[in-house]
Amino acid sequence: MNIAVTGLGQVVLAPGERTIDPMQFLVARKTRKFMGVQDDLAVVAAARAVASAGLTAPLGERAGVFFAVGYIPFEETDMAPVLAGSIVDGQFSMRAFSEVGYQRAHPLLAFRCLPNMPVFHVSLNLGAQGPYIVAYPGPGQLYFALEQACAALEVGAIDVALVGGVAHQHNFLVEHHLARTDDPVRPDDARDAAGVLVLERASDAGARVRLRLESMSVEYRPFDPLHETPARRESFPVTAPPLAASMELGPATLPIALCEGHRTHRVETRDGLVCESTWSEP
């Protein structure tokens, strides 16, 4: 394969760490108010990856952004005033919600949680105007983004691909989701994380090649999602703190594995996908 990694970037928040400040990477400070945690993570990881590739923004029309984004995050504190304004006699009241409750929502709430917003903020701040993917929500979907990015590079549709995964998992809605599946995830095992790879054609990247993609495969076993949750297993023996082998990194897992020095990555996901890739150093 003629696909090379020329840059890598990651962010993994430590337990209790609320977010990471992306301000130094923003082209316009006023956009900060629109950003949620997943946007902060994505922008910082992408900016680090682009810098490590020796590229500079704006990346232009021939740079694509191919992301997988974790489950939609909602902070309970954002919804509490809405709910409080929507209750009459202990019951939810549509009229109270319409007249009072919904108007208590932060006006920028939607901007801060929508899963397509990380790609927006990455494109804005790095000036990428090429094609894109916003896949959802697990680590297997990152492999779809990777597959399509490689295809676009190989046919010459683009010159640079930012392939990334991001997940904001420490919030009540995602924690609720992770806790309700079979094989549930303990909140302490989930991290808010982003990882981004800069991919280019190896033949174009020359001495900037950091890794080469040797192989990639994705298999799928259709399953009944209403009656089973496939087990999740990952060959990602991270040893350095704060990560551990059982850590739930959402779709950021592959880029972070590569950042951590691993050259083979295999994950069996809760949505029935078995994804594997191997990478080599020049």
Binding site: Q103, G138, L173
Partner: protein, 406 residues
């Protein structure tokens, strides 16, 4: 070497009916599917109208009560029936699916003392919110698609993106076939209130059928719709070999990022132009015979989209009919691109362009031929269908009539 990809099955759930022929006939008749909201009591919200779709109660119940999942299952089943025998080889489900929005009543229960999680997995998954990606796994299992499925969430561009990516997968031989499209329903308290809070939706509540008015000077926002469009994509050679009825060929896909504003398009339509240009280049053509516009009826979209089309087609722009399906069914969000692709194919097959209704007085900044009020006979071989999403996601596909005349 790229294989030719054709569409051999189509299924739709729309505010104008759940059968493709009925849906297209209603569009050609210029009927509106916009009505007062009945799903919940919207009487105190600023926007109280929408394009609601019907779905069988039993199917809704077996879909965890999640409308977008039920819509996807219904449209996929119809598309597979329409395709006849299942295409050969390994296929993927590639769908744009709307977001989970949680039920406020469930949030109240979750916070109540003594709350315990429901016992069965299905009950747990339907409590508070149902994961959107369930849809692609259900469709994979129900229709025997064994290649990896994908759930795309690029907002209003997701349906067109799904078709575009499915097209690429099949054309390059990485999948043998695909079941692709989009499904969405945001006609619920949080969805309706959320859009109202952004002042994005029309408040022309007293005239529901006249509320969605793309390119009209008096437009005041979009109207929510709900539904699904699902299409079967396979290689031309495979379709011919199995004697499948071919509806149309998909010949190009392009996408772009605006990299501009979070809630408004680039003022010169840079991203929209790039996506359409890339779709034409991908198709190997420099023009098309018709355009199914994104046409949301919002103050910001319509003039910028018109400008982008002018940039794309130059002198020819005013001679290419441009229609807006959303004038009749509202904005189906993640399903919009797929449903509008079906509309485009259905009209192209009949040599017609459906009207843009409610276009009484064009915005002076909208200077194209929008086919106002009444359908028009227009034999055409190619149509471009475009979708532009919140956050600057732009996507376009080019479809060609089958069999085509030129």
């Amino acid at each position: 070497m790229r294989a030719r990809v054709v569409i051999t099955g189509m299924g739709v759930v729309s505010p104008l009916g759940n059968e493709v022929g009925t849906f297209v006939d209603a569009l050609l008749a210029g009927r509106s599917g916009i009505r007062p909201i009945t799903h919940f009591d919207a009487s105190a919200l600023p926007t109280r109208i929408a394009g609601e779709s019907e779905i069988e109660p039993a199917l809704l119940e077996s879909s965890l009560g999640d409308r977008k999942i039920a819509f996807a299952r219904y449209a996929a089943a119809r598309a597979m029936e329409d395709a006849g025998a299942r295409p050969r080889g390994k296929g993927s489900v590639v769908m744009g699916v709307g977001l989970e929005l949680f039920a406020m009543e469930h949030l109240l229960r979750l916070r109540a003392p003594g709350f315990t999680m429901p016992v069965s997995l299905a009950d747990r998954l339907s409590f508070l919110q149902t994961p959107s990606d369930l849809a692609v796994h259900l469709l994979s299992r129900e229709h025997g698609l064994t290649a990896p499925p994908t759930c795309l969430v690029s907002a209003c561009a997701a349906g067109t993106d799904a078709l575009g990516h499915a097209f690429r997968l099949v054309a390059t031989g990485r999948r043998d076939w695909a079941l692709s499209g989009g499904s969405d329903s945001m006609i619920n308290p949080l969805g309706a209130a959320g859009f109202a809070a952004l002042s994005a939706t029309s408040t022309r509540n007293d005239e529901p059928t006249r509320a969605s008015r793309p390119f009209d000077r008096r437009r005041d926002g979009f109207v929510m719709g709900e539904g699904a469009g699902v299409l079967v994509l396979e290689r031309l050679d495979d379709a011919l070999a199995r004697g499948a009825r071919i509806h149309a060929e998909i010949v190009g896909y392009g996408s772009s990022l605006d990299a501009h504003g979070i809630s408004e398009p680039h003022p010169e339509g840079r991203g929209a132009h790039l996506a359409m240009k890339r779709a034409l280049d991908d198709a190997g053509v420099d023009t098309v015979d018709c355009i199914n516009a994104h046409g949301t009826s919002t103050p910001k979209n319509d003039p910028v989209e018109s400008l982008a089309i002018e940039r794309l087609l130059g002198e020819r722009a005013r001679h290419v009919p441009v229609c807006a399906t959303k004038s009749m069914i509202g904005h189906l969000i993640s399903a919009a691109g797929a449903v509008e692709a079906i509309a485009s194919i259905g009209c192209m097959q009949q040599g017609m362009v459906h009207p843009t209704i409610n276009l009484d007085e064009p915005d002076p900044a909208c200077r194209l031929d929008y086919v106002p009020h009444v359908a028009r006979a227009h034999a055409h071989d190619t149509v471009l269908s475009a979708s532009y999403g919140f956050g600057g996601h732009n996507a376009a596909i080019v479809l060609r009539r089958w069999p085509h005349a030129r």
